[in-house]
Amino acid sequence: MPASLWPSWAEMLRFLPEIILTVAGTLIMMLEPVLGSRSRRGLGQFALAGLSAALAAAVVADGSPGPAFSNMLVVDGFATFFRVLVLAVGILTVCSSYPYLNREGASSGEYWALLLFSITGQCVMASANELIMVFIGIEISSISSYVLAGYLRDDKRANEAALKYFLLGSFATAFLLYGIALVYGAAKSTNLAVVRAAVEKGEAPLLLVGIAAALMFVGFAFKVSGAPFQMWAPDVYQGAPAPVSAFLSAGPKAAAFAVFLRVFMTAFQGVSDRWAPVVWISALLSMSIGNFAALRQSNLKRMLAYSSIAHAGYVLVAMAARSQSGSAAVMFYLAAYALMNMGAFAVVAHVAGKGERYVEIQDLAGLAQRQPLTAAALAVFLLSLIGVPLTGGFFGKFYIFKAALESRLIWLAVLGLLNSAVAAYYYLRILVVMYMEEPGEVTNGLGPLPLGLKAALAMPVVGLLVLGIFPSGLLDYAVKSAKFW
């Protein structure tokens, strides 16, 4: 027990992003009733400011790495990377949600507050060093996400999405929790470093550790929508409001991968021979199910959902490599993936129109002629999702398969590359519809692009091109921080 109950300033600094987010979220809740209806609109900007401040704080906190709060958290490069990533996802979500909520007439302070809370949870996940923090972080993130998915409470699809997400999510969390309980029993602690030491020294009963790893794998694989625990994702992404789907497919997923990676590369490092084959199979299943199911989708959101399952599969390929370059590839790919997926969903949010009536692929017909810049942005996202050079997606795939080959996962790399060849087909269909068909009713009636969406498109485009042309900076950082002690 520490001599003083009051944490040091350095510890506070390391925790500053979360503090800022919490304060901002609470302030929004408190300000809303006070403000007039006019200034209530400014709450979105306030959330944006909070996120930006937290982003700055996360970068500052990187300057003083180390553990905080009795080893509950640890701020290292890995944590900073994912904190910055989820905060950036948050900023993009705010940008695309703002016009969306105005269009639906559903703008309210609670939305922003929940969004900020959810991101707080993800920041905690990114820096958690103790299973209790992992659990609480996941729960904060999830509970807010459940509500966000069903935020449009008069929309039947959104209700259903929220219910499915909630019931199945809680179900999976129970597995995760059971796994944690067994870890506690086996290793006598829930601190990742202690667990790792116990597992590697063989102090923990192997069978118990194996079962615990399996149960936690179920929980994490569910959160990252990896097969065979992916079924919820298409339904939820399709039913939830488009900006929320974008958020769910990027933020919670990235944070879940962060803890997934950290827990399995530290606590269960000692039994990695056991879990690696399972990750291998899960990666292959996710890629195949995602890509082949996406082939025949006509609903844009559902197609993107299946594609996100496939992309989770690619990331699992890198995880199966169990190496530093594999972990770095996970980080790089998730960053690129978050950008391209957020961007693609932002276009969907724009085209869908009030009440999300137009979410079929065919509704994009002739977009290139009516709004060439929007179409060009979507083209960049799709090319990046395909993995065409000069976009971030290309390098993401390149590093993943490079890491896989280095770890001698030759068949997985071959099957993964074949999968990404298949995937090109369904992304291409969107490009064809957009560029080679005459504008239809939907694209003709399309209003101008609101400012928020402009930002939500421009930032990922720039980001992806930078990652595609100058990937070094981010990759160096990822390689440097993909070490766990």
């Binding site: 027990m1 520490p2 109950l5 944490p7 925790f15 919490t22 609470t26 809740m29 209806s37 209530r40 905080a68 709060f69 009795s70 080893n71 509950m72 958290l73 007439g105 559903a106 703008s107 309210s108 609670e110 939305y111 507050a113 929940l114 809370f117 959810s118 707080t120 949870g121 905690v124 209790i132 923090m133 609480i136 972080g137 729960e139 904060i140 509970i143 807010s144 459940y146 509500v147 069903g150 935020y151 409470r153 008069d154 929220a162 067994l182 029993g185 086996a186 009963p205 069978l207 118990l208 079962i211």
Partner: protein, 162 residues
């Protein structure tokens, strides 16, 4: 008491009427609270009774009553996949034996030490909560805040919206 817990759990998942299920779950929770007491976790036993049995279940029953559906009972209570589900349940029961086997090989785990002082007292938990576990404690409050906000957002009537 363990047998009673299992029996009430079994009844809870097999009763037709949701309200009856609730009552069996209540029984279960009380039994679990008893087991907590046996394991020296007085504080948790109290919390179990107050929070689970008291607050959460009342909440459930309240909602069930609110949404009372007379025709719900007439339907078959199991889905058509129930043989599969039963098999799956059995597999998990098998897991139970695995866990036993797993602990069985652990050298120190065969028997509970009788002489150990009970550590689940109020003061110990209090010291831990505000000592090393201060951060999770604070984050838990955020979790509850998020839950409250979420529940309000979803349950409030449309007219209250802007």
């Amino acid at each position: 008491m363990a047998a009673a817990s299992v029996a009430s759990a079994l009844l809870a998942v097999t009763r037709k009427n949701p309200v009856h299920s609730m009552l069996w779950v209540l029984t279960l929770f009380l039994h679990v609270a008893g087991i907590f007491l046996l394991l020296g976790a007085e504080f948790l036993a109290a919390v179990q009774v107050i929070v689970y049995a008291g607050a959460i279940l009342i909440f459930y029953i309240f909602v069930v009553m609110l949404l009372d559906l007379p025709d719900e009972e007439a339907r078959p209570r199991f889905g058509k996949h129930w043989p599969l589900a039963a098999a799956v349940g059995l597999c998990f029961a098998a897991l139970a034996w695995l866990v036993r086997a797993g602990t069985g090989v652990a050298p120190a785990a065969t028997r509970l030490a009788a002489e150990g002082p009970p550590r689940g007292g109020l003061s110990a938990i209090g010291m831990a909560l505000f000592g090393p576990f201060a951060l999770p404690f604070e984050m838990a409050s955020l979790l509850l805040l998020a839950a409250i906000v979420g529940a309000v957002v979803l349950a409030r009537r449309r007219a209250a919206g802007p």
